[in-house]
Symmetry: C2
Subunit: 406 residues, 2 copies
């Protein structure tokens, strides 16, 4: 049984009972903004700003000694340990390093050494970067890269190989059953590299319990780490010391300041570190994670599902073309609507303080980041969308003007 608001008063009542409601106070969101783009770039947690500023203070006053005084040298691992809790992993199994593209490369190449055959599969609806990286590994190593229809990745692999797979699809928000996929992988001698970019911080992931072995994800979406905040790598304890990174930078070395010519990788996920991490951006991410302290991921997921379900109910009432699963447990933190003229519609929404995103050619995505959104905001946003569509107020020249980044 779920409760779905059918009036603004209902929505406000749900807010009054929301155990996460107070978390909103930890974000510096401009007044009058309904922010439905947390799946793209999370808003700024106050602590993210504070920790970035503290890092700037340490740099200014302690100079190079900041590596000791602010313990920057272990910041990537400490931040990884905090993310570990959010994805159901041991602290040693997660570190923060590089970006998702680079991490997918490192992990997929490493996964090949454990897979039964040297083949990579990727489904057609995966995020483009994941596809580029898969194709390039194939070209570089002379391997077969098999493109598969959505959901057909395993079938394409045959008996073993490496599948690159998103836990939540970036467009449809369709959720993959990690435990079921991993069981299938074990049966076939296959390896899966999970892209958790759209899942982390909004789904109650349990990577270890589900038998996941390798994953990466970005931290600037639901984790609110800031624009381009560095990504994380998850590497299960069982396999960590049996694989190595094809990008062995000094930060992944057991004794980086011994300046050995020979590479001796660290234990756990830390062996997938490469060069020096961007400390200011990493500090902001560390601060952003404060907003998750004491929060159960199951509660976060439940609220994200409820917000999304409310939006879907309103979208259905508006007769909109839904491209995401209706059932909350099959859906990540966002929904995709197919709206012709989606671009000017999104601009018209923005003019009313409702921020959504548009993905060419006709997808409007609405994200329901549960730490800072209210039910009433979702209600209001859908009302605004309905009004804009009905009145065709989106059809003004200023809403058609294209920005560089859409």
């Amino acid at each position: 049984m779920i409760q779905i608001a059918t009036s603004r008063e209902d929505a406000a009542a749900l807010d009054a009972e929301d155990p996460l409601a107070a978390r909103r106070g930890q974000f510096g969101i401009p007044a009058g903004t309904i922010y439905l783009v947390g799946h793209s770039l999370g808003p700024q947690p106050t602590a993210a700003r504070q920790k970035a500023q503290a890092a700037m203070d340490a740099w200014q006053h302690d100079l190079v000694r900041g590596w000791n005084t602010a313990d920057w040298i272990d910041l990537a691992d400490r931040t990884g340990a905090r993310i570990a809790r959010l994805i159901g992993a041991e602290a040693v199994s997660v570190t923060v390093t590089d970006n998702v593209s680079v991490n997918l490369f490192k992990l997929a190449v490493a996964a090949l050494s454990l897979a039964r055959q040297p083949v990579i599969a990727i489904e057609d609806d995966e995020f483009p970067t994941d596809q580029y990286i898969a194709a390039e590994i194939g070209r570089l190593l002379g391997l077969d890269v098999r493109r598969a229809a959505p959901g057909e990745g395993f079938a394409a692999l045959g008996t073993g190989g490496v599948l690159i797979k998103s836990a939540v699809n970036y467009r449809s928000a369709e959720v993959a059953d990690i435990a079921a996929y991993e069981e299938e992988a074990r049966r076939h001698g296959a390896m899966i590299v999970w892209d958790l970019s759209h899942a982390t911080g909004v789904r109650a992931l349990s990577l270890e319990a589900d038998g996941a072995l390798m994953a990466t994800g970005c931290t600037y979406k639901y984790l609110n780490g800031g624009p381009g905040a560095p990504a994380f790598v998850y590497l299960a304890r069982d396999i960590a010391n049996r694989v190595s990174s094809p990008l062995p930078g000094w930060m992944g070395h057991k004794a980086p300041f011994a300046f050995d010519a020979m590479y001796e990788p660290r234990d756990g996920a830390a062996r997938f570190a490469s060069g020096t991490p961007p400390i200011l951006s990493l500090s902001a991410l560390d601060g952003a994670l404060d907003a998750f302290d004491g929060v159960q991921m199951s509660a976060l997921q439940a609220k994200a599902e409820a917000l999304g379900t409310l939006a879907i109910a309103r979208a259905c009432a508006l007769g909109l073309d839904m491209r995401s699963p209706a059932e909350g447990h099959r859906r990540g933190g966002h929904i995709s609507l197919r709206i012709n003229d989606g671009y000017p519609v999104v601009q018209a929404l923005a003019a009313q303080g409702v921020l959504a995103d548009f993905r060419a050619p006709e997808t409007v995505r609405l994200g329901f980041s549960p730490l800072f959104l209210t039910y009433a905001q979702v209600w209001d946003a859908m009302e605004a969308l309905g009004e804009i569509l009905q009145s065709r107020s989106w059809d003004r020249p200023e809403f058609h003007r294209r920005e560089k980044v859409t």
Copy 2:
């Protein structure tokens, strides 16, 4: 003819005539600190802090729209264009992306496609990360990696291949003659990937005129970009569109927001971008470069050489064991001294506000970053060093205590 101060008054007189003296005011260096570690982590330029804060403001107030309002989408290229001037390159030939480890991998793999034979050479005294990356490319692609004695990299390559080479050695500060190396490379059908980490911002580099084709370097040393600021990639126009990155992330795509399944790389160095860059750290770097506006690199190099030569003269007077070239034009921005008990000596210097660095087992490095150091400071630092060594005041328990990062 060079002028070398032989008294503190001489040093102060050189400062009085120093055309770069006013630049010091652009840095927020704590009073009482003589900072000789600019070759490791540059101090904080005030504008670096300001631009990082502006990026945080844009994130807070404009949220995801910051990609347009603050033009984050082109920030890596804009920042690269500013670095281009400092290394003697066209704007289109430089972008900011990833770290040096990752960039060395991308460039060396790409270089193999243009080299006459699939061999990599690296000299034994190169920075360890460069050696790790070279070894790993060999392992990954099944190529021969030839380790060579210092200066013998080309001889090891034979007839063509890829040499990874620092323009300034991280330990000795020995300068490589880029033009001469490139001429040799052309003769042999070899490619060179330059590591400019210890050269950028302190040497008057002229990559294009010298025929250099590929390079990377870090930005947190003499460029003062902040801890872990992202690195840059240089790719000469002649070859840019003939090579591709083995890590093709979406930021290197010609139309990243078209979400094409096929990769179409951008023109110039930008094709070596990978995932989303860390905007806060990148913004600090952009700000840090303000301190170089209007500065001729030849003037910077001349001052760095003069400061180093003064330090060497004083070190000789102290009877110290110099491990760097005496001639300024053969030397980068730092000098290495071999000092037994170098670790406590560096700690004793720090206790007097003179920051230097120690590299195991017995190297003390002093860096002469010309934008903010004065001749009088170098004089005072060497006086302090002499006093500490003579009095053996370094031999106290507190100076032997090991920090995590040394």
